[in-house]
């Protein structure tokens, strides 16, 4: 039984169709939900929390129907909203304790849990300061802490890396990965940055204008393409020389920027590349298998509005 199952889920607003016949299944571990702004990510999350009704179709979260059992879902799920949601004159510690109580934890347990999760997200002494003076990184951590305080079985993280600098971004991604693996909490994390999800997700769901573009394990997206990427060093036209030599040897080869891509025929292809490079007196800098990246899905799928990393 997956954490999230939707069948023919549709949400229509008077002028737009936010979700269109969506069939998605999300299991344990970290699942990335990718899509451009307006692709329907936030709408999907709101429906999953039972906050807005779907126009048609069904969805279940942790075995509960979103249409009838929203309360049960909301007690088992943690939600980190995309937008700012922290009161400025309250400390992170007080807010997280309060939110724990709002999820039904007794006061003392809520305090204990709050102190635990604030440590996990990396808020130290600053947790006692009013959140109005927090940096974006600290705010994101506080938002994540309140989503975890009641030990949910599933967390929905809406753009957790929004507005973070590169090093905080790495920290946040590592934390999200940790939640899905070490903490044993299923994670659905949205982003419009594909590279991020490639790094941390076990599974990726791609939405485009409310339609499901693809839903596969991350490894499927990044499978080997049967193409060798070769970089050589030498005179200015070294790459061209090698390319012509490769074509002369009966291989399919084409330039890729300053490098050359070679179609792998069999296990001798690498040897041929190496020998030709030596024969031409060039230095072989790199020879690697080229992998797909998730952004290729968008190129192929025609959803050009997504910004690859």
């Amino acid at each position: 039984m997956g954490a999230i199952e939707t069948v023919g889920l549709t949400k229509r607003y008077p002028r737009v169709t936010a979700l269109d016949e969506l069939d998605v299944s999300v299991g344990d571990g970290v699942t990335g939900l990718v899509g451009a702004n307006g692709a329907g990510k936030s709408t999907l999350i709101k429906i999953l929390l039972g906050l807005i009704p779907a126009t048609s179709g069904t969805a279940s979260v942790l075995g509960h129907d979103v249409a009838t059992d929203g309360r049960a879902i909301r007690s088992l799920v943690g939600y980190m909203p995309e937008h700012d949601c922290l009161p400025a004159d309250v400390s992170a510690s007080d807010l997280v304790v309060h939110m724990g109580q709002m999820s039904g934890l007794p006061y003392n347990s809520a305090r204990e849990r709050a102190s635990d999760v604030l440590r996990h997200v990396g808020l130290a002494e600053e947790r006692y300061r009013p959140m109005g003076g927090y940096s974006t990184g600290m705010k994101q951590r506080a938002k994540l802490a309140q989503a975890l305080v009641h030990d949910p079985e599933l967390v929905l993280l809406d753009e957790p890396t929004n507005g973070l600098d590169p090093s905080s971004r790495d920290d946040m991604l590592a934390l999200v990965r940790k939640i899905g693996t070490e903490f044993g909490i299923a994670v659905l994390v949205t982003s419009h940055l594909l590279g991020e999800l490639e790094r941390i997700s076990d599974h990726v769901v791609v939405l485009d204008s409310g339609r499901l573009l693809r839903s596969e394990a991350t490894t499927e997206f990044t499978h080997a393409t049967g193409v060798l990427l070769v970089e050589v060093q030498g005179p200015t036209d070294a790459d061209r020389q090698l390319g012509q030599a490769l074509v002369g040897a009966g291989l399919q080869a084409w330039p890729a920027g300053k490098m050359i891509e070679v179609q792998v025929v069999d296990e001798t292809t690498c040897d041929v590349v190496r020998d030709l490079t030596v024969d031409l007196g060039l230095g072989l800098v790199r020879m690697q298998e080229r992998h797909h990246r998730i952004e290729d899905v968008f190129r192929e799928g025609g959803a050009g509005s997504v910004q690859p990393v």
Binding site: Y79, C85, D89, M102, S103, R113
Partner: protein, 305 residues
Amino acid sequence: MSSPSDALPPHAQPSGVIHDIGYRPYSGPRLGDGAVAWSLFVTGLRNCYGLGRSGRSKILPMILIGLMILPALILVGVLVQARQVLGLDSHIVAYSVYPLTTQLLISVFVAAQAPALISRDLRFGTITLYLARPASRTTYVLVRMASLTVATFLLIAAPLLVMYVGGLLADLPPGRETERFLQALVGALLLAACLAGLAALVSAMTTRRGLAVAAVIVVLLVSFTVVSSIQGVSLETGNDTTGEVAGLFSPYTLTQGVQVLLFDSPRATPTPPEGGTMTLIYLAATALTILGSLGAMLRRYRQVA
């Protein structure tokens, strides 16, 4: 995982070692909706007096409650000390009149705290966090209004309690005093509910706190001033009915009128309402104010996503 170093002899081990015990799942009890609502209520009530908020937010409510109680203390002091000299056999200012006398302080309190409780959640988007938790939005709205009502009630009732205790100390008849005190508490509760309802509704219309404060002040003070003026003019011109009807349009004169009609409390307005029809109209207006603002609040929050 870190652990205290084994190499060190026991007495040299640092005492403050932090053990990373990893993530611990929670297996304790999870309380039901009642407990959640209660905890939201208590937090809201505390927040109204600045407790659990920044030090600065405590100043205004504490000053206001001090200013509310101070006149009551003075009145009680005068009553206890000079009862024989002045020949007093009841309070100098009646319980039911006290809130009307201190209406400015009450209005300022409600105007400052309603936006702090209501607009704040909308402005900072904290409402999203509440909606993503088990409690429904109806519960949220009802509990928030209950917190504000009770906070306002405490502000109005505190000086009444001081007067009641002082009255007993001054040997006023205990039975009569208890009856009047309890009647005034009913009036205070109705007033608190009306004020909280109106202020909450105004605050829920805007995410700008300053705007909400100003709007609530204007609604409460202007309505009271206009009503008082109309009542004064109608008394002068002998057109009492106009004044009685005008009394419906300010929470202070409305709930004062209800007390006059139901409990025959002392009159504090130039044209107090009289008669069975007016009783019905005043009660209906009170119910309409309280339930109407509740209904409007629920409607307003249905649009919050």
